[in-house]
Subunit: 349 residues, 2 copies
């Protein structure tokens, strides 16, 4: 049989993992994170323009697979992402992801990209962006509890956006801490490996929790958290998966992405459904205050929202335009006469 | 910089449009449709095993973009599909689609495939499968109103599964009818081009409506439909998009895929929320009757449900295994140490 040559319309630019790594290195990780944070901030500041819905989750005993769609008037984006804490022991990653950006006006995808790396980068960029609004002034020390795949990205983003240079690491698996310490010292950080979470939080301005167990864990208890700190809670992002003791929540000022989703998935699933929270988009627009004094305990109850992925997809689309970091993928059938799909098929035979 | 070579785990088998066409021709369209219908029937018969949700739709003035997920205990599948009736005039297709099948146990995708062609094939296979349960005995004549991209696939499926050999075509655009007539005569059908919907339905055993306008249209009025016919209503599949006059609905026995979705999107959006409908999976399992007598008017209020796409994804996965009809796509990052995503990135630099 002959080999049909798809038309231009049939091709969707695809960014593979290898090309995403090339893109990151072409910009440098720090600039990638800072520029990406600017895209995220831009989209948070126009929050009401988005079509928003809590992500669609399919839970199993071993993990979750989620679809995270959102759209503005011009673009539609979604991410596929899984979360399987037991994967790591079997040589697989806890989280893998890919995503698509499409034209709202005709429904055609304009970008397909790996998002395993991109999710790590956007999660870190979001945390640090929020840190810029909420971390205490002059913050330079961050405790990091949970030293898995997300850890280094968080550290780099907090240095690029908030000036954090000293890290205090703790993980229940010392091998994870050793891995993160090695990587982060290679990036010029002053790194202390700690033997307990209690030790890690001593003197920290910011506390990042990023653990993977799918359970209601208590990574931080109330006595471990002082006044004036900012907690960046990443790992509690699923029903039945939390990291903080409830007492911390009741005395912290809680900041969230999208309350409808966070109340299901975040630390605040432990609280009453009407417990007051502050929406970050309103803080970024200057409509409500962020941190109001040096003694306040602030908490970013991060679960990850579709708009952050949308920003990341927009960012990648803009950055790969005109580069060799994408390849054309024959994803869409494109008959000469759009009604003659069958004719296209028979002519290929 | 060096070129990182992704490991086996990073690759997802991808079926391009060109490869989907090769797969169809390697089996023959008739066998593809029959075998696919068998997969769909198998999944309808185990309906209660699936995690089901109405599709997640993002509506705009010009169309809709939808995500359609479902899962059983082993596999998770979803389809991305758009519907933009105005596309055709601009040289784009009304419907394009792609889909992914994943392992529930670790969340890793096992197949990425084009689904524009596959959706046309699975929609036709589903219609004809339902026709086998509901069409009058000895049916040989089908009226087809709306002769766009889906038309030929419906005809082939109804011949392969139900023995339909004579077609009566009508479309408001005579060029569409001419296109379908040419294609279908080439496939050995006895085809009559009609000058009105009224003329097309004369003497038909089965009436297929498959029009694209996003509005409450009246493609069929009550006086056009006799006793004993089976209506296969494809085009009414969106809020505000219907094809049949309400009077037809009130005298027909109505069969649906997933009531929770059909009541939002199907012809029955015109009826009260508790209007009785019969679920097809129960008919296929023999738990409730399908057509009970020769004079009964039966209606398949088709909107397309995620389980049909899941069946199609399973089918394609099985058929491309061991063939050259897929290519490996570097979609998933795969560090040697799953926790060392950052190390993978820096070593690639």
């Amino acid at each position: 049989m002959n080999t049909p040559q798809p038309s231009e319309l049939a091709y969707v630019p695809f960014v593979s993992v290898a090309n995403m790594m090339r893109l990151v290195h072409s910009l440098g990780v720090d600039r990638f994170l800072s520029d990406l944070a600017a895209y995220i901030e831009e989209d948070f500041k126009r929050w009401p323009e988005f079509d928003k819905t809590p992500r669609v989750a399919s839970h199993s005993l071993e993990g979750v697979i989620e679809l995270m769609p959102t759209a503005d008037a011009e673009l539609y984006g979604f991410k596929y992402v899984n979360g399987h804490p037991k994967n790591m022991k079997e040589g697989f990653q806890t989280v893998t992801a890919f995503g698509v950006l499409s034209s709202v006006s005709n429904g055609y995808p304009v970008l397909l990209t790996e998002m395993t790396l991109l999710t790590a980068l956007r999660t870190a960029a979001t945390s640090a962006l929020v840190g810029r609004y909420l971390a205490p002034k002059g913050a330079s020390v961050m405790a990091m509890i949970g030293n898995g795949a997300q850890c280094e990205f968080q550290a780099l983003a907090f240095r690029a956006l908030c000036g954090i240079t000293r890290l205090r690491l703790y993980d229940i698996d010392p091998a994870a801490t050793a891995k993160a310490k090695r990587n982060l010292e290679g990036q010029g950080f002053d790194v202390m490996a700690c033997s307990s979470a209690q030790e890690a939080v001593e003197g920290a301005d910011v506390i990042t929790t990023c653990t993977a167990d799918k359970q209601c864990a208590t990574i931080l208890t109330d006595n471990m958290v002082g006044r004036g700190q900012h907690i960046n809670a990443i790992g509690g992002d699923c029903p039945g998966k939390t990291e903080l003791h409830k007492d911390i929540l009741t005395r912290a000022q809680i900041f969230v992405e999208y309350p409808e989703q966070t109340r299901i998935e975040g630390e605040i699933q432990q609280l009453a459904a009407d417990h007051p929270v502050t929406e970050l988009w309103q803080v970024m627009r200057g409509e409500v205050p962020g941190r109001t004094d040096a003694n306040q305990l602030t908490l970013f109850d991060s679960v990850g929202f579709a708009i952050e992925d949308f920003s990341a997809l927009r960012f990648v689309r803009d950055k790969v335009a005109g580069t060799a970091f994408s390849e054309p993928l024959d994803l869409l059938a494109d008959p000469d006469d759009p009604r003659d799909l069958f004719g296209m098929l028979t002519r290929a035979g």
